[in-house]
Subunit: 77 residues, 2 copies
């Protein structure tokens, strides 16, 4: 049993409204030590037969990631 | 300038409906090499003065994580 981790995040230069809102509200709440925040989502897949781990890359590219605004990173563990 | 990474994920035993739906649909689509998936969210904070990095842990605990069903992990980079 292996694990394959996919991290999906916004491409540089793409605005993430959730991240902007969090950063703005942290300042209002007084957390001035934090300048900005970048959010990404991690999918950790259980792959019983690691010879088939290529399926995860296909899933990341076709289904998890909108390549117009997002990038992904696949890491086998 | 330092970076502090917070990963928020469901505690073991807590059902994540999004992850269950993804796993189910991957099987319908023929990706049988994947058994299950665990989803987490990563917040990467820019902290100009790393002496104030403790603020990030406070933000993670108080604001980003629902400790009834989620756990978090803070890592300085």
């Amino acid at each position: 049993m292996g694990k394959v981790r996919v991290e999906v995040s916004y491409l540089p230069g793409v605005e993430d409204p959730e991240a902007i809102t969090i950063a703005k509200n942290l300042h209002i709440l007084g957390f001035d030590g934090i300048k900005s925040v970048k959010i990404s989502k991690v999918y950790e897949f259980d792959v019983p037969d690691m010879k088939r781990s290529g399926e995860v890359t296909e899933v990341a590219r076709k289904l998890l990631c909108n390549e117009v605004i997002q990038g992904y990173n696949v890491k086998e563990e």
